[in-house]
Symmetry: C2
Subunit: 292 residues, 2 copies
């Protein structure tokens, strides 16, 4: 199905027909700086990359032809093989800054809601990619959360912003989940988690405290736990994982320098993360995880 916007025609992506024009995009390091893989080295590689994307179940991709001069200047569409329809686009560097990405993305979202029967779309954007985050906002997507991610060809993980737009407003919005951690000594645990994980106290009750709210991270809101005082023998050990996008090594150093015990050194896990762990006196196991 062809789509049309004020300045673009969206043509169903045909790797054979479009690879040559799109190789100027996929072969350009400045564009691919933000992509999930390195620049392609040949038209043939670009063709294969496009074919692979198109082969994923549910993928609906278009080549973007500028009406003015019939030039193919990029690609946009919905990714295949994802749980929630994923908005994707890529644009030749020389046409950046003229609103073409927003124009194409808007047409794709309209198609998703009005013809494809989807009720929501997401776009995953590296947090430092300010051009693409602006495209998301102009296309009506808002920030829904962040994830640590590492692309295969990169050494380090980065922070990915998950943007999303729903066809209709969501009636339910769950913003936080705070587990309760029963501990024998609330102030001592606060000190331990401050030293080991840079936790911050958001509230306490009692003197000395028998309840405390802890937040991981420097802001008023963020992942956290509530500590409650219980007799040691009633503190059934529980486990939680902290996902970090930056500071894995710093946190490990701080944990080693603190007085926690049962430290399990950093190791790569079969499910693709790198993790270390330690224990609180009651046996609670805390895992710190980052993309491996």
């Amino acid at each position: 199905m062809n789509l049309e916007t004020a300045r673009l025609e969206l043509l169903p992506l045909d790797p054979g027909r479009h690879a040559e024009a799109l190789h100027a995009v996929y072969g350009n390091a400045a564009v691919m700086r933000w992509w999930t893989c390195p620049p392609t080295g040949s038209v043939e590689q670009t063709r294969r990359l496009l074919a692979d994307e198109l082969a994923r179940p549910g993928a609906t991709l278009w080549a973007l032809r500028r009406t003015e001069d019939d030039l193919v200047i990029g690609m946009a569409g919905l990714l295949g093989g994802v749980a929630i329809p994923g908005l994707t686009w890529i644009l030749a560097e020389q046409v950046w800054g003229h609103g073409f990405a927003t124009e194409a993305a808007t047409a794709v979202v309209d198609h998703a809601f009005q013809h494809a029967g989807y009720d929501r779309v997401e776009a995953w954007v590296e947090s430092s990619n300010t051009r693409s985050t602006a495209v998301c906002r102009k296309t009506g997507l808002i920030e829904r959360g962040r994830l640590p991610q590492r692309y295969e060809h990169r050494e380090k993980p980065h922070e990915t912003v998950v943007f999303g737009r729903a066809k209709k407003p969501d009636p339910i919005s769950v913003l936080h989940l705070d587990p309760v951690l029963p501990v024998a000594d609330v102030p001592a645990t606060v000190e331990l988690l401050r030293a080991a994980l840079k936790a911050r106290v958001s509230f306490t009750a009692g003197e000395p405290a028998d309840v405390a709210g802890l937040v991981f991270g420097p802001w008023s809101t963020g992942p956290g736990v509530r500590l409650v005082r219980r007799p040691a023998q009633e503190c059934a050990p529980l486990e939680f994982t902290l996902d970090v996008s930056a500071g894995f090594a710093d946190l490990h150093q701080a944990v080693v320098a603190s007085s926690v015990t049962g430290i399990e050194p950093p190791a790569d896990r079969p499910w693709g993360t790198r993790e270390f762990a330690f224990r609180l006196p009651e046996g609670h196991r805390i895992v710190v995880s980052t993309p491996g």
Copy 2:
């Protein structure tokens, strides 16, 4: 300390001197639509409101005088009595849309970092207040998370976006905390939490599943738990709270209609929330909370 921008002078707020001009702002319902309290009814009320704000420990507030015509068109500054310096501003309706808020907020943030010795500022903005979220972004603050909040004079809670800017980039970024919930039957618990709390499965392992990731909310990222299979007698009961900004009644209905047990009906808590709770077969207690 006076501050100056291209078009504004920022004068230390003096309730006696500035209340009359600022009453046009604080007395206007269209402006106060976004404020934490209703419009003031008189200059005297405005004066008292300003004096109260100024009296909070650490408050640093300025009246905004437009250089062009010496008109006092608003207020900006840093809130007192908050854990993290809180950027605040208010502007007369007739001068909206000309960049004055961004101009003032930028001067305040510069002051906070260069003269007041702060290393971060936050701004709490109602999520539907698109003018103010734009001011935050133009002032270099980014979204750090969301909170459910209810202003005293309003009937319903809303979603507050916590924007923040740090003087220097943070070396550590903790994005998620996932508690592990030991359960006797992973697939049965998945079904229970799907029905009761609209949970979504993000991953499973094993057939039948002995591990599953659950997310609360419709997006790829969000508050979640991991379920792991354990013999029933080893499933020490734990507790967690879900904070919701919308859908409290819907969730309660769904919980009542599901097959969970140990339902504690909605009640107002002394710490300012309204909560209901229920239990999973292993005794895990799940609390659903919203601003009361």
